[in-house]
Amino acid sequence: MEQQELIPHLFRTEYRKIVSVLCKHFGPGQIETAEDIASDTFYTAAQTWPLRGLPPNPVAWLYNVAKNKARNQVQRHHLFNSKIAPGLKNDALSSIEMDIDLSEKNINDSQLQMMFAICHPAIPPEAQIGLALRILCGFGIEEIADAFLSNKETINKRLFRAKEKLRLEKLPIEFPPPAAIHERLETVLTTLYLLFNEGYYSESNDSVIRAELCVEAMRLTYLLIENEPTNLPQVNALFSLMCFHSSRLESRKNSHGEIVLYQDQDETLWNNELITKGAYYLRLASQGDTLSKYHLEASIAYWHTQKTDSAEKWETILQLYNRLLQLEYSPMAALNRTYALSKVYATQEDALIGKKAAITEAKKLNLAGNCLYHSLLAELYNEIDIEKAISHLQTAITLAKTQADKNMLSKKLVAYRQIARIW
């Protein structure tokens, strides 16, 4: 790897490890100190490597420099005496000689513990994702702002408040006790799920950032799988879901950044390796009798990797949505269920009966303010009443949040108007 590529790459993989270890060492109130030391370490690398050449082991070099900087920090600012000493009970001298443990085990443990600390219920979900991106994924403020379609100032404020919360609530950087793991894990999984969705559904036009968000979410989920106490069915199910979804990441958007609908996707672009991996983890997730929403969503995603329409496919998807909605309602799931319903009728009876039945069900959903609701109705009406289809599509365009979506829907509108003229 070229040097100018190496530093950003190492930043992505090593920054979080250094921050997690230092943060665990200094305590949760010192996240910023840990971040400063880690950033400073990379700054030093960026300054010295081009001049003196690449060290033989860049990672070890970074760890060493980070350790030295941490030691200097403690000496220079008497941090130990003023802030840490009251919490520890050792004498000042041993802290200066402190040993920062950068072994693989401690790095992994620190990252996992950091994950639990960040995903503490006391921190609002949006801030959790922001903190996870910053600390566990090494994202820059600008990248986070871009992913959230927000600005740097807002993100900075959000992160600041979250860190304050960590400090004030004295949230410990440690594994929750075994009895609490299930409950706490739920928040962690939600954050990882949102983190992944942030990438998968991101309205950001930067495809590199979108893909990286997904990869980072998968990497963190995989850490939980590798760690015995958290290697639970729901974690495997979430990982499986991420594999299936990622397999379609390439085909979901065209070169103009516009969403390509599932039925229009080029399945030769789907990643078979990820599909196989998804199926493997779904099998692992099926051991035991846990049935989480991730199991259901992963199974739905699995069936979507079968491009050929069959009665079995849509019937199974419909039943999975039926169960998912019972576990947790979401407008997206309600709309997808209605679409599945139309497909079930279409494969069993005929397409028109399916669409009519789905229209009746869709109208009960009470989602008139939702863009997807109107684009679904447009889709269902297009062979029944083209004028109604056009009117729903127009409403969908006014409700669409991004230019890419507006463009995609407008293209469809042109096609519908052509149909209307032929009639």
Binding site: E315, R323, L325, Y329, R337, E361, N366
Partner: protein, 117 residues
Amino acid sequence: MDEFILIFRHEDGTKVASPEQIQVWMKQTMDWIGGIAAQNKFSMGIGLPFDDARVVKHNSVVTNGPFGDIKETIGGFIIVKANSVDEAVEFAKGCPVLQGDGNSVEVRKVGRKDGVH
């Protein structure tokens, strides 16, 4: 929004259905519940199989199943969210249990846990 319980009452609990028939009913029931859940109006539901059913009577007399000497058997229930009893009745009308002649769905408002109801 209030909660209403929809109780499925079967006229004759001794009728034995074929596994295929049971599967069709299951699917219809899941579609019916899914449709309610898609409106965010589903709270919970429990099916009550007719196997392992007992009736415990006065003087500790235990009989098999709630069948025979009483006219109706409860096959399960769901709890829905609805703005009025009429809305709950609309949900009940879609219940597949009603395909059986003589079966019924009883709609009852669930008492709020506020100590008044």
